[in-house]
């Protein structure tokens, strides 16, 4: 892998965070595992959210695309609501070594504002998008509120704590969702359920 290129990319990208809002940080000591952050585009259900994207660089980078997936949960036809996998051509066959991590993240940001339900990653979301658009919008907005807001950044820890109490993770998540991220309310719901 071209480490010097990755170095330069990180430097370049983080130089104008104020303008682009896109930030890339190291996940570990190595340059192969990074975390990108993109702001939700304005005028979309994702507005106001900050979305984290896990970036893994393979040895072939930049001749092979970086592996990217959402860490933050997103309700979007082209992003798996379960795994965060992204369906975007430039991350697959349309990757070009002339693209960079920043341009790839920008493309993902663009994908957020322009879903492609015809080529879905998450079929459920895509169906909802096509058939019940208002519901889709409100769900997406809710997910943004719940998972992509600063206040919800502790969700992972809350889930962790509740899971440690013995509740199954999917129940914990849905309870937290329903409780709007309030841990105690979610706990009550879980106990009464």
């Amino acid at each position: 892998m071209d480490l010097s290129r990755v170095h330069k990319e990180l430097r370049e990208c983080n130089k104008d965070v104020e303008v682009s809002g896109i930030h890339i940080a190291l996940k570990s000591d190595s340059l192969t595992h990074l975390v990108g952050t993109i702001p939700g585009p304005l005028g979309t259900p994702y507005e106001g959210g900050t979305f984290k994207i896990d970036i893994i660089l393979t040895d072939g980078y930049p001749f092979e695309p970086p592996k990217m997936k959402f860490v933050t949960k997103v309700w979007h036809p082209n992003i798996s609501s379960q795994s965060g996998a992204i369906c975007l051509d430039i991350l697959k066959d349309q990757w070009s070594p002339a693209l960079t991590l920043k341009t790839a993240l920008l493309s993902i940001q663009a994908l957020l504002s322009a879903p492609e339900p015809g080529d879905p990653q998450d079929a459920v979301v895509a169906q909802q998008y096509l058939k019940e658009y208002p519901t889709f919008v409100s769900t997406a907005r809710y997910w943004t509120e719940a998972f992509a807001k600063e206040s919800s950044l502790g969700v992972a820890e809350k889930v962790q704590r509740l899971v440690e109490m013995g509740f199954p993770e999917d129940l914990v998540r849905s309870a937290l969702e329903a409780a709007g991220g309030d841990e105690n309310l979610a706990l009550e719901k879980l106990c009464t359920a």
């Binding site: 010097s4 930049p62 001749f63 349309q94 070009s96 070594p97």
Partner: protein
Amino acid sequence: MHSDSIATNSSNIIPMASSNAKDFAKKKRVNRSAKLKQCKLDARREQWLSKVNKCSSEKEDSNGVRVLGPLSKAGNVQGRAMEKLEIRPRGEEENHGLHIHHYSDSESPSNSPMSHNGSILGGNDSGTTFTGSSRSSVSSSRSSSSSRSGGSCSGSMSEEDEEGDDECLDDWETVADALAATEEKHKPDDHSLDTDTASESKDVAHGDSHPDDATGAAPDDDLKAKPENGISLDRSTVKCRAWRPDDVFRPQSLPNLSKQYSFPMNPERYFGCGGSVWGCKNVRPAPTSCPICYEDLDYTDSSFIPCSCGFKLCLFCHKRILEEDGRCPGCRQQYKNESGKVETLLDGNSLAFRLARSCSMVTRS
């Protein structure tokens, strides 16, 4: 007299031309080794070699043809080179005799101190002062060219001087004239040595390449003396000035001429007004970097346009891409197999044609 000098010139140019193409390859490689990582270097060398292999036959042809073309007298290119090596000093002496007026005509302001010095010494009629003067010219040339591999070049020059003195010891007037000519001749010689061997100075490791440098550069002097005679005075000064400060960058300026040649949209810049043509304007191409690996593009890279969309990248990345899906990163279209090679070939030829061009500008008489 003219035809004589041209005959000598034509034989002089040949070794220069043929050695230049090879030296250039060598230069390029040595140059890069300073910059590039070893892996990168290997890849480049591979590409170079394959490139040379592919167009070597054409290159030879073009060498021969172009030398024959403008000057219309040339024998076996490679053969004469060796011959030239042996007869060189005498030939040069003859040249001096023949060219005295030319050189004083073409004497440029920057040359004047030298020639002045020479004529004064000529008046002195003293053998020791001659060697002294040749020394001084040598030492001044040495000081004036900080970046070249001084030892070898100036050494060979002083030898030439002394030989010239020995041959003319019986006739002081001839010696004086010849010396004046020699001084004037050595000044342009210095420049050509500077410019041509500056980059070769990185070859210092090659001990045996030095004789080649000396003989290779001296014919170049003839080559350049011709344009100076023919075209204008300030032309020569401008040219010298243009190259001097950039001795180190000579390898880059070299290709620039051919670059202009390979882009026919601005031929007037090539043939046009003197000095700038010689690289003043375009000595340093704006250093851009490969959009793939972010390394700086060198000349070979920046003149390498493998795709019709015009997307540039370095040879290393290009090779890497060809090994995989072979699509241009700029337009995502499949690289057409030949386009890159044709471009490279063209490039190589234009390099070889560089001298031919500078000769043909001069072809008069």
